[in-house]
C-alpha cells in the first residue's frame, strides 16, 4: 500500500507547479481540494486525467448569493493512488457560463445537465444540456438556488391537509392536554376560593 499522504503531496506538486492555486485545503489523507481560476479548470482536469485521475466522481455547484457567485466543484478520483481531488472554481452569479468538460470526461454529460437544471448554469459544448432531466414543466427559478423557497412554492401549489382537531381520541380516554387544562382550571378555582 502506498503512503496516501505522499499521494496528496504529489498531487499538490503537480498542480501548484503549473497553475495558480487560489486556495488549497488538505481535508484528510485521502482528499485534497484546490480552488483555481475559471480558465485553468479545463487544463488542470486534462493534466489530472493524463496523470491517472481518470474517473470523474462528481460535478455540482454551490450557490453563494452574498458574494454573488456560484462555486463549481469537480471531483476526480484515481483508484491506484487513492486521492479524491476537488477542483473548485467561482463563476459570476448573474450570467453563469462554464465551458463543458465533455471532451475530457464524457461521464459529465448528465451531471452538467442536472447542474443546469438545478442552478441555471450554462454549459456550452454539452449538447442538450438545457433540456429538463429530473423536473418536468418547472415554472420557477432553478430550485437549488438559495433564493428559492420550497415552502412558499409548496404552499402555493399543493394544498395542505387541514386538521379540524389535532388528534382523534379513539379509546374514549381523556387526552393529556384536556386533563392538564382541567387541572389548571381546578387549581384556579381553588385559588379563587370557589368564586367565579
Amino acid at each position: 500500500m502506498t503512503n496516501s499522504m505522499s499521494n496528496v503531496k504529489m498531487v499538490s506538486e503537480i498542480i501548484e507547479n503549473s497553475y495558480k492555486v487560489l486556495k488549497k485545503e488538505v481535508i484528510s489523507q485521502y482528499q485534497v481540494s484546490f480552488e483555481v481560476n475559471k480558465d485553468d479548470v479545463h487544463s488542470i482536469l486534462t493534466l489530472l486525467k493524463t496523470s491517472g485521475w481518470i474517473q470523474l466522481s462528481y460535478l455540482s455547484a454551490i450557490d453563494w448569493p452574498e458574494e454573488n457567485e456560484f462555486e463549481l466543484v469537480y471531483i476526480v478520483f484515481n483508484w491506484d493512488k487513492a486521492v479524491h481531488i476537488q477542483i473548485r472554481t467561482r463563476l459570476n452569479r448573474e450570467n453563469p457560463v462554464m465551458n463543458s468538460i465533455l471532451p475530457i470526461f464524457p461521464g459529465c454529460k448528465y451531471y452538467e445537465r442536472e447542474t443546469h437544471e438545478f442552478f441555471g448554469i450554462k454549459f456550452p459544448g454539452n449538447p442538450g444540456h438545457e433540456k429538463q432531466l429530473i423536473l418536468e414543466e418547472w415554472d420557477d427559478i432553478p430550485p437549488l438556488r438559495k433564493d428559492f423557497d420550497p415552502r412558499a412554492y409548496s404552499d402555493r401549489k399543493f394544498v395542505k391537509r387541514e386538521y379540524s382537531n389535532d388528534f382523534v381520541n379513539l379509546n374514549g380516554e381523556k387526552s393529556k392536554q384536556i386533563a392538564r387544562e382541567e387541572r389548571k382550571e381546578k387549581i384556579i378555582k381553588v385559588r379563587k376560593g370557589g368564586r367565579k
Partner: protein
Amino acid sequence: MLSTKFTKLSKEEVDRKWWEIGDFFRRNSLWMLMYCTGCCAIELPPAMTSAYDMERLGMGPMATPRQADVLLVTGYLSLKTLRRLIYTYEQMSEPKYVVGIGSCTINGGIYHDSHAVINQLNRYVPVDVYVAGCMPNTEAVMNGFVDLMGLIKTKKANGWKDYHARNEWYMANQKAALGEVKVHDEFHE
C-alpha cells in the same frame, strides 16, 4: 315452516344482490398493480413473498393497470409520478380501489415542504384506505389490505364512484398542481 312463495324482487334489490355476490369475489381476489411509486414499496416484497405471503389473502401482483384492482400508492408522489399515476388510475377497470401507504400520501410526511412532492393524495385520486407510518411495517401494510377487504364488504370502498361523481373537482385539483396533466415524454430526448 318456511314460505316457499316466490316474491318478485324489485330491480334495485336484484342489482344489490348481484353486487353483493360480486363484492364477495372482488374482496377475495384483489390484484394489485406492481407500481412502486415511492419508498414504501420496499416493504411490499416481504409482504408478497414467503415471509408474509400475500397470496393467502388472494392478492397478487399484476403486470398492467387494465388487469389490476388495487392501485398502491407507496409513499411520496412527485409531480412527475402524479401525472403517470393519473394515467394509470384512469386505465384501470372498475371497480378499482386505491391504497395510500405511508405518511407522505396523507399529509406530505417528511417532505411536506418539498417543491416536488404533493401533500394530499386524495385531492387528486380518491383513496379508500390509508396506511400511516414512515415507513409502515409489513404487518401494517397487510393490515391495510385486510381493512380494504372489510370496506368492500361493508360497501364503503366507493372511491371510484366518487371519482365519477366529483370528477370536475378532481380534475381542477390535478390541473392546479400539475398545470397540464398530459405526459410529454419527448422533451427528454
